[in-house]
């Protein structure tokens, strides 16, 4: 089976300095991919690059091939013009943004905004048809249909996030990118939205790219996960394998620092240092300056390679059978 989306060597630069630095991944139909990483590591940039929506200051390169259901030819997103992209956007890929607060036009009613997108991409132009579609979508996301007649500011944050999801679904896309759809919400609401996404994915057979810096969120919702660090994917694989058996030190430390109810109380040692400035990343492995396991080899750039079934990591020492105690390792590394 060919994958829905294939991205290879995606690069985004800002005045020559890289922000996203060679990202490759594949996404199957109906699959949910989680994209995790610290703030500023390039998650949003990657998502925008997929839809070619980057601000003019940023330039992108690399190939992105989309094979939507029913299309004879694969769509080479990388080479599409702006006009060409307009046919792809929303029809095939839609986006749920970080902060639904600002994702809707504040001076237009919600039904108008949804109708606009529906009419743009389908033959359904009549008020009845479009209205039915909107009503259906609202029911799907669990909102009262009357909410469609409101203005965005008349809805609560959670409702707005649902509206965004409904909007993302209105042209039956094959892929939805959700960029931190829950960060602005509190736990209860967050759980509701995640559950909704999950349900929809199952019932509609959507592929989903879920972006979050909260590994817990990704763990619940995704099949596969990709961990980004400083503009690169450093580890990717099925969620279970990555969580149970991380193969990159960054992933490992990140998971360790997460408190898990029912696990061990108290704080795990934090990852020392700060993420690198994406404009001038360190030589070799980008995690090297913060990595307790770093050795001389790490001065060479490690490629992302398969280290276990379906699981890849960009570390010279992967696969790790057993993780040494980071403190001891760090001390050892210093000596060496």
């Amino acid at each position: 089976m060919t994958s829905l989306l294939e991205v290879s060597d995606l690069r985004v630069t800002h005045r020559g300095s890289p922000i996203v630095d060679g990202v490759d991944f594949k996404l199957d139909r109906g699959e949910a991919l989680g994209l995790a990483g610290e703030s500023g590591c390039g998650k949003t940039t990657t998502a925008l690059a997929l839809m070619k929506l980057l601000p003019p200051a940023l330039t992108q390169s690399g190939s992105m091939t989309l094979r939507p259901e029913g299309a004879e030819e694969p769509i080479n997103l990388g080479r599409r013009t702006e006009a060409g992209m307009q046919l792809v956007r929303w029809r095939h890929i839609s986006l749920v943004f970080q902060g639904a607060m600002n994702s809707l036009d504040p001076v237009q009613r919600i039904d108008a905004q949804m109708a606009e997108a529906i009419r743009l991409h389908s033959d359904q132009k009549g008020g009845k048809e479009v209205g039915r579609k909107i009503s259906d979508l609202f029911k799907t996301v669990g909102l009262p249909v009357s909410a469609a007649r409101r203005y965005p500011h008349e809805l609560s944050g959670g409702q707005r996030q649902r509206v965004m999801i409904a909007l993302a679904l209105c042209c039956d896309p094959s892929l939805v990118i959700a960029d931190e759809p829950t960060t602005a919400l509190d736990v209860v609401m967050q759980a509701q939205v995640l559950q909704l996404l999950e349900r929809l994915r199952e019932s509609l057979g959507l592929a989903l790219i879920l972006i979050s810096h909260d590994l817990g969120v990704l763990g619940e919702t995704c099949d596969r996960i990709a961990i980004m660090y400083a503009g690169r994917i450093v580890e990717t694989g099925p969620v279970r394998s990555v969580f149970d058996d991380p193969q990159h030190p960054y992933t490992k430390l990140l998971l360790d620092s997460l408190p898990v109810i029912g696990g061990e109380r108290g704080l795990a040692p934090p990852i020392p240092g700060a993420p690198p400035d994406p404009g001038s990343p360190p030589e070799g492995c980008r995690f090297r300056p913060r990595c307790p396991y770093a050795k001389d080899e790490c001065l060479a750039d490690p490629p992302l390679r398969e280290v276990a079934k379906g699981q890849s990591a960009a570390c010279h020492f992967a696969p790790w059978k057993k993780w040494p105690d980071p403190r001891a390792a760090a001390a050892a590394g210093k000596k060496a």
Partner: protein, 323 residues
């Protein structure tokens, strides 16, 4: 969902107007000595002066007499009598008002349309040559005194290339064969003053619209709209512009004061027989009743325009209805 906000605005406008009226009284009675108006009259004797003072009610006590009279008169549109023409100030104003409205209306309309249109263009082409050019042009018209622009327009279009009349509102003394030719004639005379007015306001509207558009274009929902596959020009015209209009509406309300200022100087330059020229004459003649009346009317006009802008804002921005 209620008009409370609007009702509040209207109430505030009324309060402001009342305050203007009160202010007007004290300004002209307390700061300026109203008897100085009589120094125009040669050979006036003290008894005649006293008579005049009582004619004008100046011998009454300030608050309980003069002020009460003044409020009553103002409420019934009695703004006093012009020192010069001996006509009711209100009549003078009524004669001049339509011309000012015409000039200001056309000038503001054109300036808003062209200015905001150019602002949108510049904001969407930020940093490019067209943006820089427009910005330079607008800053220039923003900085240039409107009467100077007016004089230059006269110099160029009435003398160097004599294609337009240099002043007045219509060809004098002509009996027009039909209203069409009359309207055409007025329109012809309107071109230069309206151009000056437009140029004076253009820069301001342009700058407001540009910065407001620049702000709006960085909003997330713009990216979302683009993400839905909406062509860029439609994103701009249907989503960015309506949002950018909001600050334009509030800010242009504040600019009405400037419009009025411009009307004074431009009308003076072009001998346009509106309130501005009336003001200018009143300045020269020290015709305080007229000056007082014109000031009142200008203020009321600006207050009303502000209220209008609030209504427009109410209509444009659904958010204000919430409170």
């Amino acid at each position: 969902m209620s008009g409370r906000w609007l009702a509040g605005k209207a109430a505030a406008a009324v309060v402001t107007l009342v305050f203007v009226i009160v202010f007007n009284f004290f300004l002209f009675r307390v700061m300026g000595d109203p008897t100085t108006q009589f120094t125009r009259i040669p050979n006036i004797t003290p008894t005649e002066l006293a008579d005049l003072r009582s004619d004008y009610g100046l011998d009454k006590p300030l608050l309980t007499g003069q002020f009460v009279d003044y409020i009553g008169d103002t409420a019934s549109f009695d703004l006093g009598t012009s020192q010069r023409s001996r006509r009711a100030v209100w009549t003078e104003i009524k004669d001049a008002l339509p011309w000012t409205l015409l000039l200001v209306g056309v000038g503001t309309l054109l300036a808003t349309l062209i200015g905001s249109w150019l602002g949108v263009i510049a904001a969407t082409r930020r940093g490019r040559n067209s943006d820089n050019g427009l910005l330079g042009f607008s800053l220039f018209t923003y900085a240039a005194p409107e009467y100077w622009i007016g004089i230059i327009l006269i110099l160029v279009f009435a003398f160097w290339i004599p294609i337009l009349p240099a002043g007045l509102q219509m060809t004098p003394g002509v009996e027009f064969s039909s209203w069409v030719s009359e309207v055409t004639d007025v329109a012809e005379h309107l071109i230069l003053p309206a151009t000056a007015m437009t140029l004076m306001l253009l820069g301001q509207y342009f700058l407001i619209m540009r910065s407001s558009m620049v702000d709006v274009l960085t909003e997330d929902f713009i990216t979302v709209k683009r993400a839905t596959g909406l062509p860029w020009d439609r994103v701009v015209s249907r989503h960015a512009v309506p949002n950018a209009l909001l600050p334009l509406v509030t800010l242009s309300a504040i600019q009405f004061g400037a419009v009025v200022g411009g009307a004074i100087t431009i009308e003076t330059i072009f001998s346009w027989p509106g309130l501005g020229e009336l003001t200018f004459q009143a300045i020269n003649d020290k015709d305080f009743p007229v000056l007082q009346g014109v000031f009142l009317v200008f203020s009321a006009g600006v207050i009303f325009a502000n209220l209008l802008a609030d209504c427009l804002y109410f209509y444009l921005d659904p958010r204000v209805k919430a409170d």
